[in-house]
């Protein structure tokens, strides 16, 4: 029995048990084939697309996919008029779209649940997406969740760009701007004067490097401001803990006392 016959029966709700099984089997095969086209490093890691191979997972996925087909009843009806070959291409395209959306949802979920947005936990959406990436009811009427995720992704990208163009040696000039007293130790034992001289000499070219990258990537001021607000103190604190010997000693001392 070809796919077209099976899908026509699905459309008409006249599938017998053995035909339903055959259809699921056909779709699973197509899913495994199509899913091999979508492998990105991060998705490999988090979504483990290969888990389609596990029977219990793909059965669920295929069932979910059938629901989508039936939901798109009018489109489905149009495609049933096409040839077997065109219909197969349509189903593959639909599977591809389904997989990409599922991967995106997993990616959103990962972004929220992993430590990535945690620098500003109180502002992160409070678990708006469940494991399958479905929205909470109250958020489904507007784009609040998407807007929030979009901006988190963007701020995160500014951070990526920052680390791409600014090396560890240069981060201190940004920290100096944040709090020159607190981060003086990033200049080691140098005198205050020597630090000022160094800042005077190198900070502008360092800032320009970052600004140039901001311009090249067409990033708005808002996003840069957000990046500074969310990440800069943490970046400087991490650097301070790593570099400043006296701070490390101080921490050891505090730890010892507690």
């Amino acid at each position: 029995m070809d796919l077209k016959t099976l899908l026509t029966k699905l459309y008409n709700n006249t599938l017998k048990d053995h035909e339903y099984k055959k259809l699921i089997e056909e779709l699973i095969k197509m899913f495994i084939k199509v899913s091999n086209s979508f492998k990105t490093p991060l998705l490999e890691k988090i979504a483990k697309l290969r888990c389609w191979q596990k029977k219990d997972v793909y059965e669920d996925v295929v069932k979910d996919f059938i629901v989508i087909l039936l939901k798109n009843r009018k489109r489905f009806e149009k495609m049933l008029k096409a040839s077997e070959q065109e219909l197969r291409a349509y189903i593959k395209r639909s599977i591809g779209n389904y997989l990409v959306d599922m991967s995106r949802k997993k990616l959103h979920y990962y972004l929220i649940e992993s430590g990535l947005f945690k620098e500003n936990q109180e502002e992160a959406p409070n678990r708006p997406i469940d494991t399958l990436g479905k929205h909470k009811e109250e958020d489904s009427l507007n784009n609040k969740v998407e807007e929030e995720i979009l901006h988190k992704i963007e701020v995160n990208c500014v951070r990526d760009i920052f680390f791409e163009v600014i090396n560890e040696e240069e981060i201190k000039y940004f920290c100096y701007r944040l709090d020159s007293k607190r981060y003086k130790c990033l200049w080691g034992n140098k005198s205050r004067d020597a630090m000022y001289q160094d800042v005077k000499r190198k900070s502008n070219s360092t800032y320009s490097k970052f600004l140039k990258a901001i311009k090249e990537n067409d990033i708005s001021e808002d996003a840069v401001r957000e990046f500074i607000r969310i990440y800069m103190s943490k970046i400087c604190e991490d650097l301070r803990l790593k570099i400043c010997k006296e701070v490390n000693k101080e921490d050891e001392y505090t730890e010892g006392n507690t």
């Binding site: 599938l15 339903y20 099984k21 699921i24 089997e25 699973i28 095969k29 495994i32 084939k33 199509v34 086209s37 979508f38 990105t40 991060l42 998705l43 029977k55 059965e59 295929v62 069932k63 059938i66 629901v67 039936l70 939901k71 798109n72 009843r73 009018k74 489109r75 149009k78 495609m79 197969r88 291409a89 349509y90 593959k92 395209r93 591809g96 779209n97 990409v100 991967s103 995106r104 972004l111 489904s140 784009n143 998407e146 807007e147 995720i149 979009l150 901006h151 992704i153 963007e154 995160n156 990208c157 500014v158 990526d160 760009i161 990537n217 067409d218 990033i219 708005s220 808002d222 996003a223």
Partner: protein, 281 residues
């Protein structure tokens, strides 16, 4: 890790997915337990012939692997002003507005606005189906207009990097809307005319004239048109003039690069040099 790069990869994977693949490999599927047969409430979509302002329409089936959905921004006497929507909202730039249609989120890509002649949409709807999948509230429609006119910023805060590449790929997708059998016939006859005039003439792959430069990519069989900077973002049409009129290759807000699929047997340097024009819509 760059999240936008990951999403761009997914988009590209989908766009270039080969749907001809055959399931030759055997897949071992044993003991499938049947999930209960689902009962489903079908989504409400209706077929339309002449959409109205604020309607969200889908051309089905799409010209490629990703759905083609548009917001009808304006209905003019001769054409529709259409804004392509994309569900890849993570790629939103300063020119995109996040919108919700039924239970799905899209970006309205105001920098990719098209001016599709009414007869062209009519023809498309004869070969494919035009579904109305929803509509946009007046308030949102006015906001999209303001962003489209450059009076307000959209929802994204980054325009470069992977987002730029995404935009270029998106812009390329919609040029297929302007291709017609008739256009192909005319281009073919133009090429033949020029060939008979100067059979020994070597075809050049690039050229330049007032307001526009072009390059023909033989490998990709694509005509790349690069409008002058002052024209970018303006509502214009790129046409090839001929005896009875003009062939519209593209009409809408001009992106920095317009990529038009064009097979080798249709490209003629002379036809481009003499007949390629950029005009007001």
């Amino acid at each position: 890790m760059n999240i936008l790069k990951e999403i761009l990869e997914l988009y590209k994977g989908l766009l270039y997915m080969n749907t001809d693949i055959e399931e030759k490999d055997r897949v071992n599927i044993e003991n499938i337990s049947l999930p209960p047969f689902p009962s489903v409430e079908p989504e409400e979509v209706e077929e339309v012939k002449t959409p109205s302002e604020g309607d969200v329409i889908e051309i089905f089936p799409s010209f490629d692997n990703i759905e083609m959905i548009f917001l009808v921004l304006k209905v003019k006497r001769e054409y529709y002003k259409l804004i392509p929507l994309s569900r890849f909202w993570e790629m939103a730039t300063h020119k995109d507005v996040l919108i919700r249609v039924k239970d799905k989120t899209y970006i309205a890509q105001t920098d990719l606005t098209l001016s599709l002649p009414k007869d062209r949409l009519e023809r498309i709807s004869k070969l494919r189906t035009l579904f109305k999948i929803g509509e946009i509230e007046k308030e949102m429609l006015s906001r999209i207009r303001r962003v489209e006119e450059g009076k307000e910023k959209g929802d994204g805060k980054i325009g470069g990097g992977p987002k730029k590449e995404f935009k270029e790929l998106e812009a390329k997708r919609y040029t297929s809307l302007f291709q017609t059998e008739e256009n192909i016939k005319i281009l073919k006859s133009l090429k033949e005319d020029y060939l008979s005039l100067a059979a020994s003439l070597k075809e050049k792959n690039w050229g330049e004239k007032e307001e526009v430069r072009w390059f023909y990519d033989e490998e990709e069989e694509t005509l790349v048109v690069l409008p002058e900077e002052k024209l970018i973002g303006k509502l214009k049409k790129i046409v090839i003039e001929h005896k009875e009129g003009e062939i519209i290759l593209f009409a809408g807000k001009l992106p920095p690069k317009v990529e038009i699929p064009l097979s080798k047997d249709l490209y003629s340097f002379k036809a481009m040099e003499e007949r390629l024009r950029v005009k007001d819509v």
